[in-house]
Symmetry: D2
Subunit: 433 residues, 4 copies
């Protein structure tokens, strides 16, 4: 045991009345909701990068955190893993997620970086064997090092594409070895700074072929997890190719991958793209590409990716409602892609941030489940669209503009508007949150 | 002749030195650019709605314009057409565009509205026969009347879908009759106010089927123009299904229409969706769905659709550069979907706004053409991606992650970043604008 | 009794367990919170304009509502007032607010408009005498009519300034007569569309003098209410002079009015200005100019003024917390500057929207009061700034850069950062909402 | 001579026809505009931080630039200064600007940091003595080091206030010694992350007192330059106290400093605050607090501070027009607070970026000057407000609401709207750009 979290107790459920900061007031893993344990619904994951690799910098300031594991040696990488699993234990987190660069020091060559990764993967595997926490997904950091500055798969230099391909292979191998349930691709540099120097069409074609190769490799090695793309509109790039769920869908269709790849949807990225979080989930579900969630919140007054912990259950209930309507997660989960503020220096800040986030989600899930169970919301929706259940309506869809127009003339159709009842439904929602 | 534009002369080209407000300083229709007359490049169209149907209201204020043709009779509709063609003549505009609701009074029934439309279409046809100006595209206004408040093709009520189908049929018939070169669909109400009352999947399916019926009808009547969708992210709806070019592409792919339907891209809509105008054009071109342009500008500090006349040629040159790179328009054109400010009350404001807009575009086109002709920009782009022309790079795309990774290891690939030269290219651009 | 709300019962408090849509679950007027009745804390007001004067239009569509009182006669104006007070009774609203233009038909001259206003004011006075509901504030609509298109007090034409002055006088007289507790100025047209035609300095000077005249008139007639300015950054203007609370403060200081005029802060306007609602309240309180609230919510993905009913109590609790910290309202109140969506056609939508809004606020108030009462949040704040309570710190403020620098050198000052504990405080907040 | 810029020639004016990348096409220092040399109008300054201290990182990636002077020794600091002055020479820049942290390595104590600063200031003084380039302004970096994470003058810890005061003293001393014409304060950390842990009123009071101490110290040491505040709405903080020009004005008024302190206005900060650049300049001018300019451009689709080089002269002409209307700079200048993109790795990118920026500004200035000289724009403005020059209008301002209302009644005032002529004026503007 390291002493990083010394004095911080294991966090357990104590119920709403508890005033213990180190207790869950809403997250009760074993409580059964809609026939499933809460833990199995929520499938919480802790993100390695924000909690263990991020030094607290921002565009105008450097490191604020002092962590004993900061540095570039394999020993420090192991110390970091030790601390990470101590935090997972404290929180009772069933899952974690990581990029290669979070977990291992960069080597002087690709070969050395890969050896470092393999070594730390073995160490993480040992950790997993002796702890509850397992791998929700692995991924490759192809955005921080300067080699990626102009893109990974979409780089003007094919040598970088090669390096990216080799990197993803190594990370897919690592993810498979650790029993990861998904493999995620976030293309932070797959975009452009200026159209003036960009061959949009070629870059998109390379990105498409790259993703096909990823899927081919998945089958080759028998990785049974899900391949996930994480949409984001911009930042660090001016424009990113995986802008939002709708954009990713068109991309997948274009490369014949809509049956192979799903989406990992982040709240903050949805907001930056001009959408609500629940919109992105609902759309992915409608398109058959909903996979997993990066849970966080973006400040509504900030135009960059703030990655804060969620703290408004009433709002998140709308997201979980869409997840439940979509049938819940299969291989996906609720990954906290959230970081404590750079002023939150202490070990306890890390723990309390996650406790608050988990409780917010648990409370949101319970509200959403109850709303679904009671059925009033869905009944109202069904009533609103009831007209489409008639055979006449279905026949109209089979018909032509001409036949429909003739019918409109014949029946002198003149539809009277019907209230959308938005406020009434918002009130109904408020009954649950 | 009406006397609405009394005293305003026909606007002709006088060159940059002119200080005559009623002259073009840059738009010289017969000047040959890249082997084509400027008029044939730009294919300007005037929008009927903003100039002749909009009363000058905004969300906090009502009508400011006094126009002798305002009112609901057929006589006034004909007066409006007379004035419109007088303006087209003054500007020498080769095209115009209209919605049914701009041109004819709403009737008490669908039948009466259609009769009104047919009558005014005949009148417009006579106008076209005796004037230079022809129809770039027609479209149906399926957003202003209260019947559309919850959507047209995506309405929860199938009777509204029927009404929409009949309406589009009537407008396609009208467009064909007038020799329109395109038919446009803008789905201002095809979206939602709240997910709580929305069946996203069903609405999307209905929209897809509707568009298929439109395409089927096009072939049925032998309409040889292009069907265009106009993306917009929101407003009037909270979320609109045709959010942006990428979203429309996924939608078209889903319904098998990517070879049938193209996009009509509006500057202001691009901005509201978080994109630059040139991005949307470049993307549509890369995806093979670039069709036409709604030219205007959105105020960069306003979060709603301001529909102002373009006035920055340096910025618009980037858009025309992408249009030229895409091969220019085929059936498309440059439609001014722009309105004078509601304080611009006078007849002369209408004329001068168009003169300024046309000159801005002409100047932008000339700069873009010169930049393309000189070839420096494209040479820089080609150099940046030259690595992809090697057989090794192409073989890599054929290969697998495994073979690539082996190669990376074998060659100890370690790519060195290369300057993206953005500022240098921006300087180059500035040499032309 | 009109029959507009026929069948809709008076809404009373039934408690959280109630599933009656026409009951309050949280708003219990007589419940005592921090020593004051809930009704006296919240001081709810209904806005005449949104509920009774707005026809349901938006920038792309016209009227959706059918209201029997729509039209321009005095009889219809009285019918409107009848219905309004019926709604106030149903809701038990202690207050309402109105503009002249909401309540009376525009006349053919200023004199006729004023007579119409006086007549309807008498009628409203009779209503007030026989109903619970009283006037929170009056105001003049100086933005809808075309005469205001280029500003009221800031119009380039002094005749419009004159008309505005006369209009405000009439409305202040009306407000005084009805016992209004405040008089509000919202300058929707006091701004510009383009700097090119604007004399910013002159317009600002005129606005300042106008406000002085308003204050002078207040004393002249012995109006004992508060004069309030309502900040908004833009819309309908591109830029409005009363941008936000900080801007208004500078303006008041400049014209010597910071002791005379306070602010009426709207949630949606705060959001459009890039601020949180609670920021604007906290700042106004710190500056001594907090007056009243326009309660609503702005859609976080829309860039225009959506004026929706509030529906997230957890978020609004932050606003009420700042109001309570500021000592609560004096003459101010919680005015619902919110409108049902244009698809919410029915009488019941109007009622339920207010019920939901009132319950959201009541729940928020209770959470905020409990948080304040428990004192943990304020204790944490006090601890964070405790260093400033030392005499050394206060002496430093009295000192000079030189003496401080000498001290820093002498003591080798090297401050160690301390955690800001944001997540912990967010968790604490969540204990209450 | 270092060899960093080896092979890059001194940049001189060659005129518009030049295709030499290392020539000015518009910036001709000795050309006389409105009676003043262009160099004396524009007063260009190079920012030390972006060009010499920034390593090319962004929130998702680290250093991309390899610079021989990167590191923490005094020798490297001198090398950096050598290279900087070589660049100033190449560009013929009359001014530069720097923060302490750009120019000297941080010491282990305040004393050591100050010694380092003094030493490098002496070195910079020698450079200035032998080069054309002089100091436009100095400033203190009170945002990068972790000690500032919760604010400098507004820190909850008074020890940090002390450290800030000592730091500003050292930088004011340095600025005076180097003959700097201004001293700038940018409060990147003077704001908050969450209101929950913030005492807004106390922090504002401390900031006000701090600024008073700065002004007192200016007089104490006989610094004859201007004290400038640089507004920015947010980033790095969620909210910054110096939000925009209007906010700064209210702050200055509150602390009696409106006659002592002016503003340094940055284009990108204006955009992030929801304003156009020219608005902020025009407002500062109207309020008497216009001082200097941080010239750059913010990407219109990015919600963070992109600090790009300006490249649209037509847009910048509007800013220079307001500067000229304000009488031009006195001690202020045009400081390029702009950085090459992190992909622009090469020495030549640094030079060309500045060449492009200087040419953009020169071209904008010339257009603005011509527009002012011709007088059409100002004549139109004067005409629009001509009504205010009458004695009746002035008397009205002296009068009361009552007298004005009586006059409105008596004369039956009913003002007719007049066209704002926005598009016509935009066309006029386009004649010059």
């Amino acid at each position: 045991m390291t002493d990083f979290f010394k004095g911080i107790p294991v966090v357990t459920y104590e119920g709403e009345a508890s005033t213990n900061e180190y207790a869950f007031r809403h997250y009760n893993p074993d409580e059964v909701i809609l026939g499933k344990r809460m833990e199995d619904h929520l499938r919480f994951a802790v993100a390695y990068w924000h909690s263990f690799a991020w030094p607290g910098g921002d565009p105008f300031g450097g490191q604020t955190f002092d962590r004993p594991w900061f540095g570039d040696s394999m020993d420090l990488a192991r110390l970091k893993a030790d601390v990470a699993f101590e935090m997972f234990d404290i929180l009772g987190a069933p899952f974690y997620c990581f990029h290669d660069a979070d977990a291992r020091p960069e080597g002087a060559s690709f070969a050395e970086s890969t050896r470092n990764l393999e070594e730390i993967v073995d160490y993480l595997g040992e950790k997993q064997a002796t702890h509850k926490t397992q791998l929700l997904w692995g991924t490759a950091n192809m955005f921080s090092h300067r080699r990626w500055m102009s893109g990974a798969a979409t780089n003007p230099d094919p040598e970088v594409y090669a390096y990216a391909a080799a990197t993803v292979k190594a990370n897919m191998d690592a993810t498979k070895k650790l029993g990861g349930q998904n493999y995620v691709l976030w293309g932070g540099r797959e975009g452009y700074e200026t159209l003036l120097n960009t061959d949009l069409k070629a870059e998109r074609a390379h990105a498409g072929r790259f993703l096909q190769q990823v899927v081919e490799y998945k089958y080759k090695i028998g990785f049974t997890g899900t391949i996930l793309i994480e949409p984001k509109p911009q930042e660090p790039s001016k424009h990113q190719y995986d802008y939002d769920v709708a954009t990713v869908y068109g991309f997948l269709k274009d490369f014949g991958l809509e049956g192979e790849v799903k989406t990992n949807i982040e709240q903050g990225h949805a907001i930056l793209a001009g959408h609500s979080f629940e919109h992105e989930i609902a759309l992915a579900s409608a398109l058959g590409i909903f996979g997993s969630i990066d849970m966080n919140r973006n400040d509504y007054q900030s135009g960059w990716d703030t990655d804060q912990f969620p703290n408004n259950h009433a709002e998140k209930a709308l997201a979980f409602y869409e997840i439940l309507r979509a049938g819940g997660y299969t291989t996906g989960g609720t990954n906290f892609d959230a970081k404590v503020r750079r002023q939150s220096l202490d070990a306890e800040d890390l723990i309390l941030a996650h406790v608050g986030g988990m409780d917010t989600c648990a409370r949101a899930l319970k509200a959403a489940a109850k709303m679904l169970e009671d059925g009033h919301m869905e009944a109202a929706r069904a009533t609103r669209y009831a007209g489409w259940q008639t055979s006449a309506a279905q026949a109209m869809l089979e018909g032509s503009l001409e036949t429909i127009a003739a019918d409109v003339m014949a029946r002198n159709v003149n539809p009277e508007p019907v209230s959308g009842r938005q406020e009434r439904l918002e009130n109904l929602w408020n009954r649950y949150v």
